[in-house]
C-alpha cells in the first residue's frame, strides 16, 4: 500500500482529531518546515526569517516542502507565534540568539499601551499565505493554522525573549497579578481574532502552542494559563479542531483536557498510555517521540515509532508527532524513515 498516494491521505489527520477511524495513523512534525531541510535553507540564504514569514509566496513554498519531501499528512502554516505581538506594537528582532523584544512589557502602562489591531489589516500576509496554500495543496493534505497561547506569548513579551525559567514573568505574576492578568486578557482577545481570521482564510485545524506553560505549578497553570486557553477555544468560530501543545505537560494533563481542546499534544517525558489513563473523555492525543530520537540509526527509529504507536493503543484518536520541534541537525532521511514507519506500522490492513 502506498500510503502517500492513498485517497485517504487527505482525511487521516482531520479524522484522527475527531477520534474517527482512519486507514493509518496520520503524522506531521512540529517545525517540519525548517532549518534541517536543505530546500528551506536555500530560501533562507536569500531572505531573513521575518521577511520569509511576511512574503506569502515564499512562506507558502516552505510550508509545502515537507509535504512532498517527508510525506506527512498535514501542512502547517509557516509563520511565528510572535507575529501578533509585533502587530500589537511590540517590535521584535529575530537574532541568532533567538527573538528579542526591543521593549519588554513590565508595567501596567506598558500593557495599556499595547494595541488591539484588526489582524486582517495588520497581518495581511498571514491570510494571503493561507489562501495561496489552499490552492497549492488542492486538498492533498489539510492545512493547520496556529497561534501562541496567551501564557506563552506573555512569557516572551515580559521576558523580552526566550529564557530557562521566565523569572521576570513569575515575579510579575506574583507581585502584580492584576497586571499579569490584564496582559493575558488583552493577548487572549487578540488571539481569538487572529485565529478566527485564519479559519476564515481557510485553515482546517489550529494548534495552540502553550510551549512554556510547563514551567508552572498546577495551581499557577490553573490561574494564569488555563482560563486563557479556555477563553480562546470558546471564542473560536467555525468547526475546526483545536490542538493544545504544552512542553512539560505531565502535571497538567487533566486541566489540558478540561480546556475543551480536541487534541492534546504531549512532549516525550511521559508515555501516551499513562496520559490516556488520566483522561476523562475520548480526547485525541498527538505525539510524542523525543526529537533527539531522530539521531538514532534508521532501524532503531522504527523501534521507537513502534513503541509510541503501541502506547497510543491504535490509530484511532492518535496523531503521530515529535514531542517538541524537530532539531536543526536532524538528518532528513531519518525524518523520512520516521514518517514511513508510522504509516507502515499503523496500517489497517482491512481498510
Amino acid at each position: 500500500r502506498d500510503t502517500e498516494n492513498a485517497p485517504n491521505r487527505a482525511e487521516r489527520f482531520l479524522r484522527a482529531c475527531r477520534c474517527l477511524p482512519v486507514d493509518c495513523t496520520p503524522v506531521w512534525i512540529m517545525r517540519q518546515a525548517g532549518r534541517y531541510l536543505p530546500e528551506y535553507r536555500k530560501i533562507r540564504e536569500k531572505v531573513s526569517f521575518l521577511t520569509l514569514c511576511k512574503t506569502p509566496d515564499l512562506a507558502a513554498e516552505v510550508t509545502c516542502q515537507p509535504v512532498d519531501i517527508l510525506g506527512v499528512d498535514a501542512a502547517i502554516l509557516f509563520s511565528d507565534i510572535l507575529i501578533p505581538l509585533e502587530a500589537m506594537g511590540s517590535a521584535v528582532d529575530f537574532t541568532d540568539a533567538g527573538p528579542q523584544f526591543r521593549k519588554p512589557v513590565s508595567t501596567e502602562a506598558d500593557v495599556k499601551g499595547l494595541l488591539m489591531p484588526d489582524p486582517v489589516q495588520t497581518m495581511p500576509f498571514v491570510f494571503e499565505t493561507i489562501r495561496i496554500l489552499r490552492g497549492m495543496l488542492r486538498g492533498k493534505v489539510p492545512l493547520i493554522g496556529f497561534a501562541g497561547a496567551p501564557f506563552t506569548l506573555t512569557c516572551y513579551l515580559v521576558e523580552g525573549g526566550s529564557s530557562t525559567g521566565f523569572y521576570n514573568l513569575k515575579r510579575l505574576m506574583f507581585r502584580e497579578p492584576a497586571v499579569a492578568h490584564l496582559l493575558l486578557d488583552k493577548i487572549s482577545e487578540e488571539i481569538v481574532l487572529y485565529l478566527n481570521a485564519q479559519t476564515e482564510a481557510g485553515v482546517q485545524a489550529v494548534q495552540l502552542f502553550d510551549t512554556w506553560a510547563g514551567i508552572l505549578t498546577p495551581q499557577d497553570y490553573k490561574e494564569f494559563a488555563f482560563p486563557y486557553v479556555r477563553r480562546v477555544i470558546d471564542g473560536l468560530r467555525g468547526d475546526v479542531p483545536v490542538i493544545l501543545y504544552v512542553n512539560g505537560c505531565c502535571g497538567l494533563i487533566e486541566m489540558m483536557e478540561e480546556t475543551g481542546a480536541d487534541v492534546i499534544s504531549v512532549d516525550w517525558r511521559i508515555g501516551l498510555d499513562a496520559v490516556r489513563a488520566r483522561l476523562k473523555r475520548q480526547t485525541a492525543l498527538q505525539g510524542n517521540l523525543d526529537p533527539a530520537a531522530l539521531y538514532l540509526p534508521e532501524e532503531k527509529i522504527g523501534e521507537r515509532v513502534a513503541d509510541v504507536l503501541q502506547k497510543a493503543s491504535g490509530a484511532q484518536g492518535h496523531i503521530f508527532n515529535l514531542g517538541h520541534g524537530i532539531l536543526p541537525d536532524t538528518p532528513v532521511e531519518h525524518a523520512v524513515a520516521m514518517v514511513k514507519a508510522v504509516h507502515r506500522f499503523s496500517l489497517n490492513r482491512d481498510s
Copy 2:
C-alpha cells in the same frame, strides 16, 4: 513553641527521612548557602567560587550561615557536583555563564583517559570541610553530603557545560550507546568512592542530584539513568539516608522509588499528593515549593507553604524544600518567612 531551639531540632530531618514521627516538618533549601545571602556574597568578594569550595574553613563558614540566618533543620556541605569530574582529570572553569569544561568528553578514548582517583587523596578539602563542620554544628542540625548522579554528571561532561536539551549527550547515547555506558560506569564507580568517603568523614545523609534526568523519556531514564543511581545507592556503606532529586520528575516517580532511595525530592510541577498516590512503599518526599514563589509577598508565602504541607498530608515522611535551588534574587526575609511558616503550620501540638 520555639522550633529553632527545640531539643528535637537535631532529629527532625533524619527522622523524616525514615518516615518516623517528628515534632514538626523539617525544612532546608537547595542552594541555601548562596548568592541571595549578603553574608555569602561578602566572602565571595574575596575568593572565587572554586577557591571557596577548596578552602575548608571558608566552605564550612558558608555552610553554617543559613543554619542560623534561616533556622533550617539541616546543613548541606558547600561544594559543587562537578568537583569529582575535575578530580577525574577534566578541567572545569566556573565562569559567569556557568561551568565550562575545557575539553568535553566525546570519544571512547576520552572516556578511557578519565582517571579513577582516590577521593581522599585528590579532594582532601571536601573531607576536611566535613570534619570541621561536624565540630562547628555540634549536633545542632545534621550535615547532608551530596554528589551529582552519574547521568547528570555525564550531561555536563559531554556537553561541556549547561544546556537546555543536552543534545550532544543524546547524540552520543543514541549513536554510540556503548561509549555513553562506559562513561556512566566510570562515573558511578567514582561517585560510590566519593560518597563513602563523605560518610566516613561524617555526613549524616546524602543527596544525589540527578537534576537533568528530566530531559529523558521514561524508556531512556530506565537505560541511562536508573541503573547508575541504583548502583551508587547499592554501593553506599554506612546507615545514611539517600535523597534522590530530579528536576522534571513527574514522568519518573515510580522508577525513582525503585532505585531504593529513602527520599524522593520533587520539583514544583506536580503536587505531592499526586506523587504519593503513585508510590508503592512508605517512601519519604522532599519538596516542593516553586522557587519563584518566594517572590510573593510574605503573607502569600504562608498560603503556599500551607498548600504544600496539606498536599504532603502531614509531617511524617515529609521534608520541606523548594522544587529547585533558591533564586539569587530572593529576598532573605522571604526565605526566613517560609522556614517559619513550615514550622508553625506543621507543629504537632501534642509533642
